[in-house]
Symmetry: C2
Subunit: 343 residues, 2 copies
Amino acid sequence: MQKKIRQQTIKFKNPVYIISTSSTVGPKEGEGPLKDFFDLILEDSLYGEISWEKAESKITKETFARALEKANFSQEDIDYVISGDLLNQNTGSNFAIRDLNIPFFGIFGACSTIGEGLGLGAILIDGGFANNILIGASSHFCASEKQFRFPLELGTQRPPSSTWTVTGQGSVILSDKKNQDKNKKLPCVTAITPGKIIDLGIKDANNMGAAMAPAAFDVIYSHLSDLNISPDYYDLIVTGDLGKIGHDLVVKMFGEKNIDMTRNYNDCGLLIFDIEKQKIGSGGSGCACSAVTFAGYLYKRLKDGVLNKILFVPTGALMSQLSSQQGESIPGIAYAVAIENHD
Amino acid sequence: MQKKIRQQTIKFKNPVYIISTSSTVGPKEGEGPLKDFFDLILEDSLYGEISWEKAESKITKETFARALEKANFSQEDIDYVISGDLLNQNTGSNFAIRDLNIPFFGIFGACSTIGEGLGLGAILIDGGFANNILIGASSHFCASEKQFRFPLELGTQRPPSSTWTVTGQGSVILSDKKNQDKNKKLPCVTAITPGKIIDLGIKDANNMGAAMAPAAFDVIYSHLSDLNISPDYYDLIVTGDLGKIGHDLVVKMFGEKNIDMTRNYNDCGLLIFDIEKQKIGSGGSGCACSAVTFAGYLYKRLKDGVLNKILFVPTGALMSQLSSQQGESIPGIAYAVAIENHD
């Protein structure tokens, strides 16, 4: 008797519609190539608050509200909220969601959080456990630098391999039915491949792209194998925040398997910033990097038909400041989310 | 037309069997009233490691392994792992799970984590998305004190309202079928009520029981209303880590609704320690408090038939050290998990 081969990928039976998204970004993201796709560009990163952490919660709260408004929904229409961020104990999300009267699942996937959220949200809907789910992920450059690296006031020089944490929040509403544009195709979550934690021993918190690349490779490879498809099934395969170094490593790892990823593979961290002109280092990073690139840019490109099928692969580095201080390496994770236009 | 009343509670269609549990605790828990129910009592909290954080990951890794062994499972039998803890960026879990070759969902519900995990795990199984799920939650007294309050070396005096973070990890395996004891009844997750974040303005990190009690009350009340049952439907209703102060507040809040909770309601934080003899303050707390009390004590009491139906309600305080320093209040959350013996 053959031993059951465990499938990592969940393919959904019913269309899980993405009926609304919303995005807010900081000033630097508002000067980047995707600036015309975001709903709100902040003029300053404190956003009228007395701390960056409070600003992050305010951004989350307001971006959630805008996603609801765009879906013509009130809070009562949402069954569950799923959200996470980079701040210790997920306070970016917790302090935003305490004002919503909606049951909550808190998640932590570092910068892969929006991928984990889309996966769990689609599971709740496809399984018939919910009709509408609100999902979000946020990060804040200043709060992250302070928490993970150095106080900004030190003016520490950043090595070229370092990535730039995106300030912002991306919100997504998943639903079992279309509530607007009923005659149009809508982007749907069609499959999710949750990743394994992979740690090949990278210890440099200024080179997170390299630390996360093996997890991205592994989950994309598993996704393609499970569904028996090749990369060109998708119009675009897009990782979360590997930046230039991590992106090139993924291309190289697939090359070693004789799979060509040079044609339709990009990274949100390379889309959101012009890394040369904006002097960004290796690219954008943070939970918001993939969340706002999806909620702002990719979702609109799907809706207007420029893209039809994408594999969205948010990536996360699962270290803490303390684990780095204790000499630990950086474990990586990624979630592969298939999103396709559907009637 | 009547507006749809949103139901917070998910009632599972199929039995979601709890086929195995495992628990590890620290020395202080090993001197408490539940000492005979735990699989492993550590002789010291460093457990041969050079830091408390590394010790927490080692405890998690080994307790997971023991849960697999007790189910007669290997890693390959598990579809997904769900885990979380109190350490910044969930490193207690991440650094344990990187050595498992199993796709992972990281969650953060503070001390309510095991409840959130049991809920999501049961959703994955009842929805047909997985056959077997491994779930865990951990905490460590020394690592928590250092992270949230004061370095232990300071010998800071603790007020009587403070709770004592449990050192340990509780693991649970959920499955769509019994793999042992096939003719016996087994505890099953039959329903889950995910909580809303509730913040009534308590700011004292040494009185978390009071901060979490309103969330516990709210989710238990919603659970009973959604299913149209009274508290005496259950043999035991047991919150996670409210301690004496929070427990008494919950009884009082139900009293104001003319619902008697004095007969079958207890708290894991009061079960795990003898608060007088062990000089614990208000009771036990931390992710491990409810996780090991369930995995060690409650699961065995269900299996031997002393209990048949329980409502297990892990509770969490969603603050960070920084949010307290910035003068924020403490938002609370709770998950109500119905567990009943089933053929």
